[in-house]
Structure formats: C-alpha cells, structure tokens
Symmetry: C2
Subunit: 199 residues, 2 copies
C-alpha cells in the first residue's frame, strides 16, 4: 500500500469499531474517488468539529462554543434537583434517546482504573461534588457501565456522595428488554435475579 494511504489507514484503524480491514476499505473508497468530493466533505466536517464543538463547562457533555453551558444544562424545563452521572458524552445521547430522564447530567470523562493507574483526578469527580453542593442537588443517579472498573468507580462515588448527604441511586441492572432468558449471559442473569423487584 502506498505511504499516504497507509498513514490514513493507520489513523482510521484507531477509531472505535474500525479494524485494519474496515479502515482499508474506507481509505480505498476515498482514494478511488477522482474528484475527492467525499474526502473534502469529511475534511470540512472534521474541521468544523475541531473549531465549533466544545465541552460543556458544567456537565462535561458536548456542545458548541456559542452554547456553553449546553442546551440541556440551560433548559428551564429540566428538573434542576436531579443529576445523572455518566462516564461519557455518548451515554448522555443514549439516555436522552430513551426519554426516561428529565433531570440534568454530569459526565465523568473517565473512571477509576488501578490497571492504568487512573485515580480521582482522571475523572470529573471533584466537579461533581462541587455541583452537588452549589446546585443543591437532591438526587444523583449513577448510570455507569457494568464492568469491574465502572463498578469500582460507582462504589467510590456513592461513598463520597453519602458524606454529602445526597440521595444516590443506580440505574437497574438486568435483562435487556426483548431478550430471552436462554440467551442471556450468566452474569446478567445473576444480577437480574439478585435485583429482582417485588410485584
């Protein structure tokens, strides 16, 4: 493969969900385009991301430089007393799509990791504790992932939030809607049974 194409493949392969083969396929598609229309559109969109997209100074979510704090943080219809804590801005988008949450968010942009040596200063935890006090938050909902590092992060956050005397909850863990018992992994089933709710 020629060098400029090789370099593009190497960068593309670092994007989430793309491996070497899918990166090659995309690079070759862009390279065979004689008028470079798609490449130009991609460069323009990335440049716009670079110049216009910002991190919300309140929640850590994604917003534009012109709208900071973001549209959710400044929406008067959102419940100001409840904060949903997520790891990543992508999680905010997913929860918004569910329509089930009417409060505001706080993105940690990281998590505790003994393996990578990442402690409390690798996540926006102090910002969270400050917000809980200054914004008189009544409830914090932890919506973290369910692997070991996220579990440890959630437990650590819950301890600190308890000291601030704020109600802390955790989104439920269990069977995905529409899935079958027989096809669920043992860990999910264990959680689903352990966290069963009275009817």
């Amino acid at each position: 493969m020629i060098e400029p194409l090789e370099r593009l493949i190497e960068v593309l392969a670092r994007l989430p969900g793309l491996g070497r083969r899918s990166a090659e396929r995309i690079a070759l598609r862009l390279a065979r385009d004689r008028n470079r229309a798609l490449t130009d559109e991609l460069i323009a969109a990335l440049t716009e991301l670079r110049t216009r997209v910002a991190q919300c100074r309140l929640c850590g979510g994604i917003t534009t430089a012109e709208a900071n704090p973001c549209a959710i943080c400044t929406d008067p219809r959102r419940d100001p007393g409840i904060l949903c804590v997520v790891e990543d801005p992508a999680d905010i988008a997913a929860i918004e799509a569910s329509g089930a949450f009417t409060g505001r968010y706080h993105a940690l942009l990281g998590r505790l990791s003994a393996v990578r040596g990442e402690g409390r200063h690798h996540l926006r935890a102090d910002e969270l504790f400050r917000r809980v006090e200054s914004e008189h938050i009544e409830e914090v909902v932890l919506a973290l992932d369910t692997d070991a590092e996220s579990e440890a992060t959630a437990r650590w956050l819950a301890e600190h939030l308890a000291a601030l005397r704020v109600k802390t909850s955790r989104i439920a863990c269990g069977l995905p809607v529409g899935s079958g018992i027989a096809y669920s992994d043992p860990q999910t089933l264990e959680q689903a049974i352990r966290r069963r709710v009275p009817l």
Copy 2:
C-alpha cells in the same frame, strides 16, 4: 445532537461499512477528545490523501503524484505480457496480498449497468483494448466480482478481447457467488487465480 456533530455523522455514515450507529460512535469519540489530537491526525491524513494520492495513468490503480505510472506498472520483474483486469483499485490490493499474480493490472473503475444506464464509457474499457494492442499483451485475466452486472461486464469484455485475438481467462473456483474480490481471503484468491479457466 448538536449541528456540527450531526453533519460529521451524516458524512461518516456514507463511508463503506459504516451505518448511523457506528458513525455516531466515531463522531462522539472525536468530540470528547479535549485536545483534538485524533481529529487533527485524521484531517492531516485526509489532506495528504487529497494532495498526494493520484490515479495511475496506465492501470487506473492508486499511486502518488510522484510515482505515475505506479510501482507495479513500472516494475521490471512483473510479466509484461499478462494483464489482470479488475473493477476497483481495492481488488488490486487484495490480489497482491495473495501473491499469486506476477503480471500487471488494469482497473476498469466501473462496470456495465443497465439499471444505472452505465455503458462502455463508464468503464476504462477502451483504455484496456488500446493497452492490449500497444503493449502486445498475450493474456488477459478477468478478475471481476461474481454478481450479475460484473458477469455481464466480463462477457462483454471477453467478446471484444476475442476480436483482438488475445487469450482471455477468468479467475474461477473459490469465489463464493455474490461476494466481492476485495473482501476475499488471500488463500481463496490464490486458488481462484491459479485455477483460472480459458474463455
């Protein structure tokens, strides 16, 4: 989703192999990066593709502006008497990976399509016929995909090549019907080239 991000997602989703969800995931990954390092690398690699990558004026494959004709076309170790005809530069890369072909290539960059109304001038067919005569080609190996449009293109090319009295063969066994050259594994392609049959 904020507008600059929405625009990037829309462009990304037009790349091969990416749907709306995978495009969202990539855009959010780029947006959450505070120093924009990955976005910058991507813009730089795409800009280099835009400025340095060219179409080989002989085979239609991918090369740089400085190396035109391409490294394969000008390689004195390649058999000058045999041409492998492919649809797309991606197919050249896949066949090269198989190591089974020692001649040179000719990329059609299109195919006959009654549905899209694309005839002989939508593919580099006249360039192929001219090359067969001027370069004294002894054998043309057709390595096209195996769907209906590619089959029709192969039959049409075989007819015209017969009139030029050049031996024409077609890669054969091993290619699952309905699949594409670029996504075949090297072993399958090696067999398909080795067992090519005269037309």
